[in-house]
């Protein structure tokens, strides 16, 4: 059995390439190691490049709530793909608006000088409109930004010419922007003063248990 596997591996190595053979090796090894479908579910089954899972979160339907349950806040997921901007530069803006209410976020982005701010503002306005039209949100100002982050898009590669006939591969960067709006007022950020932090520190020192002492 082993010999056959090895010969298979050898043929695979010559055919596909080294990495492909390792993957094949892993595939044959994993079910042997673990226990069946539970362990296999940890593998990525859908390729992450074309699956738009963020948009699919908008299609989830919850069962009707009973009258005594607290009202479930509406969540709206929106994104824009392949923005011609750097993901690292967009991250700063995304981090800035996390936790803000929609109106505040839109106002901040409107008066920000970065290129990504204009795009993000459009995305937020679109999401707000979608919320009111499709997701049964009553007041469009009653939303806050729960999650907001940027992701890497598919880059185009070009040649950057250097001296002495050397060249480098230049990436034309693209990024995605994801935002999740939730109905309700923005959650209060707990403000901890330095005095509070100091008190906590002193308390942690006092509550130490000393072992092996007299």
């Amino acid at each position: 059995m082993r010999r056959r596997k090895e010969s298979n591996m050898a043929t695979a190595m010559t055919g596909r390439g080294f990495i492909g053979s390792i993957y094949g090796l892993l595939q044959t090894r994993l079910p042997v190691l673990g226990g069946g479908p539970l362990q296999l579910s940890c593998l990525h089954t859908s390729s992450s490049l074309e699956s738009k899972s963020w948009e699919r979160r908008n299609l989830k339907v919850y069962p009707p709530q009973l009258p005594d349950e607290p009202r479930r806040p509406a969540e709206i997921h929106h994104s824009r793909r392949q923005i011609k901007y750097s993901k690292d530069k967009l991250w700063y803006l995304a981090k800035m608006i996390r936790g803000m209410s929609v109106d505040e976020a839109i106002a901040q982005l409107e008066f920000n000088d970065k290129k990504g701010a204009k795009i993000m503002k459009e995305v937020l306005l679109e999401a707000q409109e979608m919320a009111v039209k499709n997701h049964n949100v009553e007041y469009k100002s009653n939303l806050y930004v729960a999650e907001s982050y940027s992701g890497k898009g598919k880059y185009l590669k070009r040649i950057r010419y250097h001296g002495r006939g050397m060249f480098g591969i230049m990436d034309k960067v693209y990024c995605h922007y994801f935002v999740k709006l939730v109905e309700g007022s923005p959650p209060r950020k707990e403000e901890r003063t330095s005095l509070d932090q100091a008190k906590e520190y002193v308390q942690s020192l006092k509550s130490r248990t000393i072992i092996h002492s007299l």
Binding site: P63, Q65, K133, H135, R158
Partner: protein, 361 residues
């Protein structure tokens, strides 16, 4: 790339030679250098694609093909379409005013009850035509069948069983019933029928060609139903599951008579103009205010929200924003008083302070 290499080689050569023949080296004589150009042997795994230069897309492949003598046969872009239902309700039934509002014991009520379908000659003709094609058609039991189709169609809508729904409901009616409902939960229940359903109207229009007959029969039914619609998050949007409502409906059932496999399917509903307003939705909606000229001020106290004209809806099903399968038109249901200016910026500010009251007609 070659030039700098040659230069370095030259200096190397000279450096080696200088020990041996200093005289020749100092005279700066260019000796022919052996061709030892090093070639890059390490393979580059990825070379980015050359971006097309500007003068690239000038060749016309079509002209080239024609010059080469390749002939393509003419492509007929034909697609057969099967029409199994009409586009609307032809010659719709106009329900008499005050239908089901008067008790049967009063004089007017008795008059209404005795108004049978025999009155209308066109309907009689239509029924005769229908009986020609469909021998089993009987006015008396057709009404019960229509009610059964109605109940089954609505049950299929709650389960969102597409195939069953398509078999019970025509293609024209299907989008009206289901638009916007895909991500909503609908709970509908037919409690009981208050009056036996009866056929009130019939027409046999033909589409496109003369012989292509469709039969449309209007059935009046008075029943009790409960409807509750929940949005994507399980929150109640409209109606309630406990309270049932008395509903008077005029259903239009259609069948493609010539087609031997045609079935009687629900085609639409007729909503009379005198129908009472429905219950409002559990949501505040902003109605756009009047258009103001610059400098003009909005007088909130004297402003009356314009009410839509009472029109008979022969399209039937109600498209309430996202489209609900409901009885009467929704525009009458919410009336809203704006406390602030109706301009768009103030609308956002006013969205929290709008009063919401139900319309009472």
């Amino acid at each position: 790339m070659a030039m700098p290499m040659r230069r370095t080689l030259l200096t190397l050569h000279r450096a080696t030679q200088s020990n041996l023949k200093s005289a020749e080296a100092s005279l700066d004589v260019l000796h022919p250098i052996p061709l030892l150009l090093p070639v890059r042997t390490k393979k580059r795994y990825f070379i980015p694609p050359a971006v097309g230069l500007k003068g690239k897309s000038e060749e016309n492949p079509e002209a080239k093909a024609r010059a080469a003598g390749i002939v393509f046969r003419q492509q007929y872009l034909e697609r057969p379409i099967n029409i199994a239902c009409t586009a609307g309700i032809f010659d719709p039934y106009i329900p008499p005013e005050g239908d089901a509002r008067l008790s049967t014991l009063s004089k007017e009520g008795l008059k209404q009850r005795t108004e049978q379908i025999r009155q209308s000659a066109a309907s009689q003709l239509a029924i005769r035509k229908v009986k020609e094609h469909d021998s089993e058609f009987k006015t008396k039991d057709f009404a019960e069948r229509a009610q059964e189709i109605f109940i089954e169609a609505h049950n299929a809508l709650t389960q969102f069983n597409k195939e069953k729904l398509h078999s019970l409901v025509t293609e024209r009616c299907y989008p009206e019933m289901t638009r916007g409902n895909r991500y909503k939960t609908i709970r509908w229940r037919f409690v009981e029928s208050l009056e036996p359903p009866r056929v009130v109207h019939a027409r046999c229009p033909d589409m496109v060609t003369k012989g292509n007959l469709y039969g449309q029969v209007t059935v009046r039914m008075h029943s009790k139903q409960t409807l509750a619609i929940y949005d994507r998050f399980g929150r109640l949007m409209l109606g309630s599951e406990e309270h049932s409502k008395d509903v008077l409906e005029y259903l239009v059932i259609e069948r493609h008579l010539i087609n031997p496999y045609g079935r009687w399917r629900l085609h639409g509903k007729i909503v009379p103009s005198w129908a009472p307003a429905k219950d409002p939705i559990i949501k505040t909606v902003i109605i756009p205010g009047p258009e103001l000229k610059p400098g003009q001020e909005f007088d909130a106290l004297n402003y009356e929200v314009p009410k839509p004209a009472a029109v008979q809806w022969k399209l039937g099903f109600l498209l309430f924003e996202k489209g609900f399968w409901l009885l009467r038109h929704w525009k009458q249901q919410v009336s809203l008083r704006m406390n602030k200016l109706p301009c768009p910026e103030a609308n956002e500010a006013a969205s929290f302070s709008t009063e919401y009251h139900t319309s009472l007609e």
